[in-house]
C-alpha cells in the first residue's frame, strides 16, 4: 500500500481534493426564502441520496456535503472522521480497500478516498460527520457562481470539516432502498400551468415517446434530445421552480433543476415533483426517460 504523508492541518480538519471528476460542489438543502429577490434555491439535485448520506454519518439532513457529478475523484482527509457515500456507485476505496455505499466508514488522518470507475447513475454524495464548514451565504452553504467565491471543486481545493466529537456515529443506520435500484425510467409528472396550450398531437407524444437526456444537462437544467410540437402562443413571465418543464419556441423541453432562475417566460408544460426529480438527476447523457403525465 502506498503511504502518503498527511498534509499539514491548520486549526480545522480539512479535506483536500487530489483529483477531479466532471463537476463537484458543496451543497446542502438550499438557499430558501429569497426567491422574490431572484435568488435561485440551489441545493442537492438528488435529495434522496443526499439525505441518506447525511443521516448515515450522523448528521441532520441539511448538513453540507459534496455533490459529485461523474466519477474520477480522489480526496485526502487531514483528521479522523466518519464518511458515507450514497447515490452512484463508482467503486469507492479508502486506501485502496473497497468500501460499500450506504454505510458509515471511519477514516483516519492521511487516508485517501478514491471514486474512480463509472457506474450506474450520475451523481454521488460524500457526507462527512458534522458536515463541511465552508462559508454560509444567505443561510446556505450551497455553492453557486453568483453567491459563493468557490463554485466548483478543483484540484487542491481544501474544504474544512467538523472535528469529530466524542459522540459515536450510530453504525446501525442503514437506508434500505438504494436510490438507483428503485429508479426506473418512468417519471411521473403533473400537468404544468400552460399544459392547456399544448396541441392534441403534442400531448399524444407523451404516451408514445421516450426522451433522451443530453450532455448539456447541468445543475441549472436537464435537456432532452427529442423535440415536442411547440406552443405558438407567448406567455407573460411568471414563477418557475425545480421540476418545471419549459417548452421553447423550437420545441426543446428544459427540465429545470435546483440552480434554475426563479422566473421564466417559456410555457411551463409540466411540473415534476422532487421524488421524481431525484431520479432524473441520476440519469446520464444518453439515458432515456418516459414521462407519465397525470392531472396532478
Amino acid at each position: 500500500m502506498k503511504l502518503r504523508k498527511p498534509f499539514q492541518a491548520e486549526s480545522m480538519p480539512e479535506l483536500k481534493v487530489l483529483r477531479c471528476g466532471a463537476f463537484g460542489s458543496v451543497q446542502d438543502m438550499g438557499r430558501t426564502g429569497f426567491r422574490h429577490w431572484g435568488i435561485p434555491v440551489s441545493g442537492v439535485l438528488d435529495e434522496n441520496s443526499a439525505k441518506s448520506a447525511n443521516l448515515i454519518c450522523g448528521n441532520p439532513e441539511n448538513s453540507a456535503l459534496l455533490e459529485l457529478i461523474g466519477p474520477g475523484w480522489e480526496f485526502e482527509f487531514s483528521q479522523d472522521t466518519n464518511i458515507s457515500i450514497c447515490g452512484s456507485d463508482w467503486h469507492p476505496e479508502i486506501n485502496q480497500k473497497r468500501v460499500s455505499l450506504q454505510q458509515n466508514n471511519e477514516v483516519k488522518s492521511g487516508d485517501i478516498l478514491t471514486m474512480k470507475f463509472p457506474g450506474k447513475g450520475r451523481i454521488a454524495y460524500l457526507g462527512i460527520t458534522g458536515g463541511f464548514q465552508t462559508e454560509e451565504i444567505l443561510g446556505s452553504r450551497s455553492w453557486h457562481s453568483q453567491f459563493t467565491e468557490s463554485f466548483i471543486l478543483k484540484k487542491n481545493t481544501i474544504l474544512p470539516y467538523s472535528e469529530l466529537s466524542a459522540r459515536k456515529v450510530d453504525n446501525s443506520i442503514f437506508i434500505k432502498n438504494h436510490p438507483n435500484e428503485t429508479s426506473g425510467n418512468l417519471i411521473k409528472a403533473e400537468r404544468g400551468p400552460e399544459w392547456n396550450l399544448l396541441s392534441h398531437d403534442a400531448i399524444m407524444q407523451f404516451t408514445e415517446k421516450e426522451w433522451t437526456v443530453t450532455n448539456r444537462s447541468n445543475r441549472m437544467a436537464y435537456f432532452v434530445e427529442e423535440k415536442l410540437i411547440p406552443i405558438t402562443k407567448s406567455i407573460l413571465t411568471s414563477a418557475v421552480w425545480p421540476g418545471i418543464v419549459q417548452l421553447t419556441p423550437s420545441g426543446q423541453m428544459i427540465i429545470l433543476m435546483k440552480d434554475a432562475q426563479t422566473t421564466g417566460g417559456y410555457p411551463r408544460i409540466l411540473s415534476i415533483p422532487q421524488e421524481e426529480l431525484n431520479k432524473i438527476a441520476q440519469k446520464n447523457p444518453g439515458e432515456k426517460l418516459r414521462l407519465c403525465v397525470s392531472a396532478g
Binding site: T32, F34, G192, L236, T237, S238, A239, Q261, T263, S271
Partner: protein
C-alpha cells in the same frame, strides 16, 4: 371588498400557484404585492417563499397541503380583506446611466433601427417613471413596466453570450438592468454604476416590487462619482 378574481392550482403538493388575468398593469401589481404581504403576515401559512410576477403569485409552502379546500377558503378570506387596492408605490430610485459608447454596445444600432436621433432615444428612455413589477431571472433583476411604445424592439435573434453587470437593455416591450454577468437577448444601450446586487450589503437587494425607477443620463466622466453617490443613498435609505 374585492371578489376573488384569481385561479389557483397546487403543484408537487407544496406549491400554490395563483394567477390573475394575463395583463401588465400597475393596478394588478399593487393588488398582488398587497396580497403577498398579507399572506406573509399570517401565521397559518407556513411559507418558505412567496414570489410575485406580472399576473401571478406563487407560494412555496413548508409542508404538503393536506386540506386544499380549507387553504383556498382562508386565502380567499384574506384576499377579500384587502378593502381597496391602494395606488401607493414604494421608493423612487434614481438610476444614473451612461448611454452609448463602450457602455451601450447596441446603442447606435437601436437608435438607427428605431429611426431616431441619439438624443431622442435617451430622452424617451429617461422620460418615463417605471414600475418595478417584480424581481426575477437574476438576483436583483427588476422587471419594469412603462416603456414608451416607441422604444419597443424585438429581442436579438442571437443572444449575447455575456452581458456585463449594470447593463441597461431593451427587450420587446420591456427595459431592465442586468445586476450580474449573464447571457441575454436584450439590446444594451447603456450601463449604470447603481449596485443592484451586493452580497456585502444588508440587504443585498434594495429595489423591491412596487418601487419605481427613473433613469437619468450621465457623462462617462461621472461614472465613479455617481457610484459613490448611489452607495451613500442606499446606505442612508436603509439606516433610517
Amino acid at each position: 371588498m374585492i371578489a376573488p378574481d384569481f385561479s389557483y392550482k397546487i403543484y408537487a403538493s407544496k406549491i400554490l400557484h395563483l394567477e390573475w388575468a394575463a395583463e401588465i398593469t400597475p393596478g394588478q401589481m399593487h393588488k398582488i404585492k398587497l396580497f403577498a404581504d398579507q399572506l406573509k403576515n399570517q401565521d397559518r401559512f407556513k411559507w418558505i417563499d412567496v414570489v410575485p410576477a406580472y399576473h401571478s403569485l406563487t407560494i412555496f409552502l413548508k409542508d404538503p397541503i393536506s386540506d386544499s379546500l380549507e387553504l383556498i377558503n382562508s386565502l380567499q378570506a384574506t384576499y377579500t380583506l384587502i378593502s381597496e387596492v391602494p395606488k401607493e408605490s414604494g421608493r423612487i430610485w434614481k438610476i444614473p446611466v451612461v448611454y452609448g459608447g463602450i457602455y451601450g454596445p447596441d446603442f447606435d444600432a437601436v437608435y438607427k433601427v428605431l429611426n431616431m436621433k441619439p438624443d431622442e432615444l435617451i430622452e424617451k428612455h429617461t422620460a418615463s417613471t417605471y414600475d418595478v413589477h417584480f424581481i426575477g431571472f437574476l438576483p436583483g433583476f427588476p422587471y419594469l413596466g412603462g416603456l414608451d411604445p416607441e422604444l419597443h424592439l424585438a429581442r436579438k435573434d442571437i443572444p449575447s453570450a455575456s452581458i456585463v453587470p449594470g447593463s441597461v437593455g431593451i427587450g420587446g416591450s420591456q427595459t431592465g438592468i442586468y445586476p450580474v454577468k449573464s447571457p441575454g437577448g436584450w439590446h444594451i444601450i447603456g450601463n449604470t454604476p447603481f449596485p443592484l446586487f451586493d452580497l456585502s450589503r444588508k440587504p443585498p437587494i434594495v429595489i423591491q416590487s412596487t418601487d419605481r425607477i427613473q433613469f437619468y443620463s450621465i457623462p462617462e466622466s461621472e461614472m465613479e462619482a455617481c457610484r459613490l453617490q448611489c452607495f451613500d443613498e442606499i446606505k442612508k435609505t436603509f439606516s433610517s
